[in-house]
């Protein structure tokens, strides 16, 4: 044993030296984009990017052997440990509250705006531990790290929608043979789950801030004031990890919010805003380890306005402040001379298409799911429609109909992929390509059955119905016929735009009265005892003739 240790030692030393050379560089950039929106609100998008140069995701084949040491300067150690522990190549976590209003606000800076929690990860499929075991470990670790109920994203909610969620970075191939005689093909799979009832709040923001090199003490992150962020009309945080093949592992932490300056006290009908009015804080110190630290303000295009202080540069309708060089405390303020007038209508072409999903029917057993997709462009478009529905709602696929501007048209749906639900075990995954004729509205509708739950499956909360995850629509290019894979592992469709989420749905399922279980037991027992007694009595009754003297 000692002899082998001696042999291994120089090798591992060499390995460590190589790792040193490889991971000798980390870079951190922070960025805040402030955009006035057409309805007088202001969108703020924080992006914190840490790039670990030269690093590569862990090969799941090496999960049984001890991992290399992790030495980080700017990269968050807690996240790094988790990624290596479960050999995750790409990870996306989004926790949002509210409904992103595509019609008024346009496309969001970060497309992951589905209401509630959403987690998806690309992982290598081979190796000593199965991908599902690692997925379970990953969501439990993340649940612990972010204090969110991600542990509830179990097999009942997990799907593998590879086409709608293609990898954002590269997937390593790990090709070749290993020491232990196994060979790698580098195959990757996606695991995706969403939890629409999850609410993002301070307890999620605190661990999020701890992943940043400057926490909330200096730099742009100092603006992340939970009292203001969680009062915003819409807010959400995101964690995105990907591997950039010729650079390294990139972690992008993002926080988005839509604030309403008109609602602020003393607004007097003007949509003026400043960093102080939005966040109740200003940038007083810059983060010393940030390579770039910029505040970008998208300038309003029509109104007369004044922006203070003077930006370092203002090109292409965007004013840029460099936090490192700007005078501190930095309080960017945009003010208008006139009061804000709500537009009578919003430009319908801010997004290429819009979508509305509803669940109809009053019964607790049946309903009808209807999705209306409107094409705002004057050319034909294809969108990939994806439903990852928990088994609470079961689709009757044979009733699926498509109507183009009210006229039945079966050719509107193609490339249908359907994974039926298994009660108590697996969700439905329905994926189809919908053809949207120019400036037309396509309505898909389908009968659905509502599930009847076991009493242990009801949550111990006050009953408010069940939240159903948003559907996802991705504009795609379907020029390549089915079967030829465009992106590896991502199916046959090449996305041509960002994902669009529908709003969540609330379904009312048959719910027992949990307030008096013991009474129910007593009633049932009385009934059973009554029936039993009657039957038993009838079977064993002795008839006698009693002669009564008249």
């Amino acid at each position: 044993m000692r002899a082998s240790r001696c042999l291994i030692w120089p090798l591992s030393l060499l390995h460590i030296c190589l790792t040193v050379i490889a991971t000798s560089y980390e870079q951190f950039d922070e960025d805040l984009v402030l955009t006035p929106l057409p309805d007088g609100k202001v969108s703020a998008a924080f992006t914190f990017t840490t790039l670990l140069y030269g690093a590569a995701p862990r090969d799941p084949h090496t999960l049984n052997s001890p991992d290399e040491s992790q030495h980080y300067t700017l990269f968050p150690l807690a996240l790094g440990q988790l990624l290596r522990e479960h050999a995750v190549t790409e990870l996306h976590l989004a926790l949002n509250a509210g409904n992103w209003n595509y019609a008024r606000w346009g496309s969001p800076p970060d497309p992951a705006v589905g209401t509630g929690g959403e987690l998806w990860a690309w992982m290598g499929t081979e190796g000593p531990t199965s991908i599902d075991a690692r997925w379970r470990g990953l969501r439990n670790s993340l649940a612990g790290l972010f204090c969110a109920s991600l542990g509830a994203l179990d097999a009942v909610r997990t799907t593998a929608p590879a086409a709608a969620f293609p990898p954002e970075g590269a997937l390593p191939s790990w090709r070749g043979a290993h020491d232990n005689g196994t060979t790698t093909s580098g195959a990757h799979e996606i695991r995706h789950a969403s939890l629409p009832a999850e609410h993002v709040c301070t307890e999620n923001l605190t661990p999020f801030l701890k992943l940043l090199p400057c926490k909330a003490q200096s730099g742009l992150a100092a603006l992340l004031n939970p009292h203001r962020l969680f009062g915003a009309d819409w807010h959400g945080l995101g964690v995105h990890v990907r591997w950039v093949a010729d650079a390294g592992v990139e972690v992008r932490l993002s926080f988005q919010g839509v604030f309403d300056p008109l609602r602020a006290p003393g607004a007097r009908g003007k949509s003026d805003w400043s960093l102080h009015s939005l966040f109740d804080r200003t940038v007083s110190r810059s983060c010393p380890v940030a390579t770039t630290s910029a505040i970008r303000v998208a300038l309003p295009n029509s109104d007369s306005y004044s922006l203070v202080p003077e930006p370092a540069s203002a090109a292409g309708g965007v004013a840029v402040y460099d936090v490192h060089t700007a005078a501190k405390p930095l309080n960017v303020a945009l003010s208008y001379p006139n009061t804000f007038n709500y537009p009578s209508s919003y430009a319908s072409n801010s997004t290429p298409f819009s979508v509305k999903r509803t669940l109809t029917g009053t019964s607790q057993a049946w309903g009808r799911l209807s999705v209306r997709i409107t094409n705002h462009r004057s050319e034909e478009m294809h969108v990939l429609y994806l439903e990852t529905m928990p088994w609470l709602l079961q689709f009757h696929l044979h009733t699926l109909t498509a109507r183009v501007d009210g006229v039945l048209d079966d050719t509107a749906i193609s490339h249908l992929t359907y994974t039926p639900a298994i009660a108590h075990a697996r969700p439905t995954m329905l994926q189809a390509v919908v053809r949207l004729p120019p400036r037309a509205t396509v309505q898909l509708s389908m009968d659905v059955a509502k599930a009847f739950l076991r009493y242990t499956e009801h949550p111990p909360d006050a009953q408010r119905g069940w939240d159903l995850p948003p559907a996802v629509l991705v504009p795609v290019n379907v020029s390549s016929p089915l079967g030829q894979t465009g992106v590896r592992g991502a199916g046959a469709f090449v996305p041509t735009g960002p994902r669009v989420y529908t709003s969540t749905l609330l379904v009312d399922l048959a719910t027992p009265d949990f307030s008096m279980p013991y009474n129910v037991i007593i009633f049932t027992c009385t009934l059973v005892a009554g029936i039993f007694g009657t039957v038993f009595n009838t079977l064993t009754r002795r008839w006698v003739i009693v002669r009564v003297k008249a």
Partner: protein, 509 residues
């Protein structure tokens, strides 16, 4: 009303009634034997269902080998240590032996589980089983250690030899201090090195500390030597905002931390030190760089403001902290190599101290670093600790299972307990032959015993007390059983009366 119904009164059988109904006992369903068969079949089903009910509701409680566990607690483990004294004559060796025995009898707690024996050079060959330590009197440069050999200068007094031997063999005093400082045994530790800047935005930020080279120089030699006892995973991070939970006390030209402040120095709420990916215990090593506005930051030994010469301190069973006031930081934010080396030398000392590596006795030097004597002393200590720990855990399991009648004991728990007992037995067998093997067995036993103790299956039914069962079952069973019991009793009485009447009839004529 009664007058009209009297015509169809049941007392007078109507003429159109079938003949069989004139005698109510004549239809087949009114036969006594059938009725009794029906009642009997009810009872048969109930009686047959009882074992099934018993089987489906009973808790699996396998018998634990409690006798063997108790038996084990009565025998204490003895680790023999053979020391070969080369050179001097027998009377001299006897003198050492007598003094050593005297020491042992004075402090038996310290020598518990260790049985040293001295041999003259002629007997050394015979006692070749265990690793033999040897004492030689050939040194020219004071007392020194080479592997398992101890070199004394010639003509060393027996009392000195006994003193050195005892502090090499049992360096741990029985005081509580060392017991509380040393971390509990675990097969795998994570070493987390953190460079904490109190406030990077105040300027003079340390961004890089060239940790890989320092780990290679200071930490890896120790982890390599201790590889037989523990495995280690090393990780490091740098933080740029790690505020203290208390304001340091301003002094004339510096800032001071009082002994009371040291107890709350680690600010767990603000410093992101905990790691979430595994259950292995973590040893933290923290290099704390005070804010540029609060330098130099020094440790005070009392409340009067006496400055301690040391800038490092140890948090028992948790890790070590070094406060470093940098004088020169390069523009790239790298600490000078010399400074980092000083810090890591302190970390190495803290690391050894936390793991229980004893310091060499005064005046003894070991050119090869961590000596075999120290390592063996640690291994013996860990073996005894693990053996005691696993015995205690096994005894606790047996006691707990005896106390709580609802606690299930599955096959996995029983197997773990039995395997732990087997490992303890193996450890006893291996103890006279090989210390390394005895240690390995003791670690296995401890692991198995803790796994059995923390088996989640043992908690399964604790929260479903018997009262709930009665509360749920009584409304059904009480109301269903009463007619059954009454019917059975009535039939039994009828049957007895029939027998008595039959006997009377028989006796009458």
């Amino acid at each position: 009303m009664p007058s009209t119904s009297s015509s169809s009164s049941p007392s007078t059988p109507s003429p159109d009634l079938p003949a069989t109904l004139h005698d109510p006992k004549s239809p087949f369903y009114q036969q006594v034997s059938l009725r009794r068969a029906i009642i009997a079949s009810y009872w048969t089903i109930i009686l047959l269902a009882v074992p099934l009910w018993w089987y489906t509701t009973s808790i699996e409680r396998l018998a634990l080998p409690s006798g063997r566990v108790q038996q084990l607690a009565q025998h204490s483990l003895e680790l023999p240590v053979s020391i070969c004294v080369e050179g001097p004559r027998i009377p001299f060796i006897d003198k050492i032996q007598v003094q050593l025995s005297k020491q042992i009898s004075q402090d038996p707690q310290r020598w518990k589980g260790i049985a040293p024996r001295l041999f003259g050079s002629t007997d050394c060959e015979k006692s070749s089983g265990n690793k033999v330590y040897s004492v030689k009197f050939t040194s020219t440069t004071g007392t020194s250690i080479h592997h398992r050999q101890l070199h004394f200068p010639p003509n060393t007094a027996p009392s000195t030899i006994v003193e050195v031997l005892s502090s090499l063999l049992v360096p741990y005093s029985s005081s509580r201090d060392s017991k509380h400082r040393i971390v509990q045994y675990a097969p795998h530790y994570r070493l987390a090195f953190s460079l904490l800047n109190e406030d990077a935005a105040a300027g003079d930020v340390v961004k890089d500390w060239n940790i890989q080279a320092e780990l290679r120089n200071y930490i890896n030699p120790i982890t390599r030597r201790l590889g037989a006892l523990h495995n280690f995973t090393v990780e490091s991070q740098v933080q740029f905002h790690a505020p203290l939970a208390f304001p340091p006390r301003p002094l004339d030209h510096s800032w001071g931390i009082t002994p009371a402040d040291l107890t709350v120095f680690v600010n767990s709420a603000e410093w992101t030190l905990s790691s979430s990916s595994s259950n292995d215990p973590v040893l933290h090593f923290i290099l704390f760089i005070p804010s540029a506005e609060r330098r130099p930051l020094v440790i005070l030994t009392d409340t009067e403001g006496t400055v301690s010469p040391s800038s490092a301190f140890l948090v028992p069973q948790w890790g070590g902290i070094v406060i470093h006031n940098p004088t020169s930081i390069s523009s790239s934010g790298t600490l000078p190599d010399h400074d980092v080396s000083t810090v890591f030398a302190a970390f190495a000392t803290q690391f050894q101290s936390l793991l229980g590596v004893a310091a060499l006795p005064r005046g003894v030097h070991a050119p090869e670093g961590l000596s075999a004597w120290q390592l063996d002393a640690l291994t013996r200590r860990r073996t005894l600790e693990n053996a005691q720990g696993s015995q205690d855990t096994l005894a606790s399991i047996v006691k707990l299972v005896d106390q709580i009648e609802n606690m299930p004991v599955g096959a996995d728990v029983r197997d773990d307990v039995e395997d732990a007992l087997a490992a303890l037995q193996d450890m006893r067998d291996a103890a006279p032959v090989s210390l390394a093997q005895a240690f390995a067995r003791s670690a296995t036993a401890l692991g198995l015993a803790s796994r059995a103790f923390f088996n989640p299956g043992m908690l399964a039914l604790l929260y479903f007390p018997a009262e709930h069962t009665y509360a749920v079952y009584t409304p059904l069973f009480a109301s269903a059983l009463i007619p059954l019991v009454v019917a059975a009793l009535r039939e039994f009485m009828a049957w007895k009366r029939e027998r008595r009447e039959a006997a009377l009839m028989k006796a009458a004529p």
